[in-house]
């Protein structure tokens, strides 16, 4: 089998010394698409919504209700909703755009041989890692704001009893594990979907890949939802004053 599967995205061209990879190129196109769509929608708002506007309204409203039901109060939901919803929409678009027929066949001839012009954005570990770091750093900032700097450090290092000292050290590992688990979940699922799709296409080009693509479509939506929801859950746990043992369970 000679499939061209690589874990790192391939470079398609250079701007100066800056390498532009295929997933970066695809991400720029995606971002522009979302921005243009948003601007068009923004300047064509009507009192009586059309089909597209009501669809977007339903999506945003149900998203807001879900965020509010998880995080509790209206005030907190207003603050965190834009980030979570942006993550959801961006991940969902990035995952769903890989199912546009024919885009995987577009190939650019470079000096290193033919390179696919488009690559699933979330199959680039760098992109997923950046999104994960946004979540993790935000969670730490919220925890510091809620507990105060000393309370925050005291959560991890305390000498009240040997047991709480060990549990504090476990919390540090739990925070670090968040980075790995959150990023690998999205990256692994999308990348595995790509690999599974190409392997199935290689084994049986007709009909056989269809059920797997349907499964991939489902997992694309679910993973976008899960990434945004886990961000929301981490923020919710960090923004609560009470000591919560759920943190360790959620981060595994």
């Amino acid at each position: 089998m000679n499939l061209d599967i690589s874990i790192a995205p391939q470079v398609i061209f250079y701007i100066g010394s800056f390498p532009v990879t295929n997933s970066f190129f695809w991400m720029i196109i995606l971002t522009l698409t979302i921005i243009i769509f948003t601007l068009i929608l923004r300047y064509s708002f009507k009192m009586v919504p059309g089909r597209v506007q009501s669809l977007v309204e339903i999506l945003l409203e149900s998203g807001y209700d879900f965020v509010k039901s998880v995080i509790g109060t209206d005030e907190k939901a207003r603050k965190i909703f834009p980030l979570v919803m942006t993550m959801f929409i961006f991940t969902l678009t990035a995952n769903l755009f890989t199912y546009i027929p024919g885009q995987a066949a577009v190939v650019l001839n470079t000096t290193d041989g033919p390179v696919a012009l488009f690559r699933a954005v979330m199959a680039d570990y760098g992109m997923v890692f950046v999104m994960t770091m946004i979540t993790v750093i935000l969670v730490q900032i919220i925890a510091i704001m809620m507990h105060g700097p000393f309370g925050y450090i005291g959560k991890f290092i305390n000498f009240k009893s040997p047991l709480s000292f060990v549990l504090g050290l476990m919390d540090i590992i739990g925070e670090l594990a968040k980075v790995v688990s959150l990023s690998f979940r999205l990256f692994g699922n999308v990348f595995a979907g790509e690999v599974l799709g190409s392997v199935m296409l290689f084994l049986a080009p007709f009909v056989m890949p269809l059920p797997f693509m349907l499964l991939g479509l489902l997992s694309a939506v679910v993973q976008a939802f899960v990434f945004a929801t886990l961000t929301l859950v981490f923020v919710m746990l960090a923004s609560e004053i009470e000591e919560d043992t759920l943190v360790e369970q959620a981060s595994m």
């Binding site: 599967i5 690589s6 874990i7 879900f66 039901s69 688990s181 690998f184 979940r185 990256f187 692994g188 699922n189 990348f191 595995a192 690999v195 679910v222 993973q223 939802f225 899960v226 929801t229 886990l230 859950v233 959620a250 595994m252």
Partner: protein
Amino acid sequence: MDPEAAKFLAAGICMGLGAIGPGVGEGIAASKALEAIGRNPEASGKITPLMFVAMAICESTGIYALVITLIILFG
């Protein structure tokens, strides 16, 4: 043993063993969620998203195994 053969063997064992845990775990999560929906069908709207989140968390060990396998095979 040929290093190339050992690589494929390692990838197979890694993925095979790594898939056991998440399979069992996701099965338990789904069965409990379906049981709960069966008892109280009105709550299905609340249970289903939580079930997906729980299943995704169960899945992470399987995904770790998958990432390691892919790194062994293609890295």
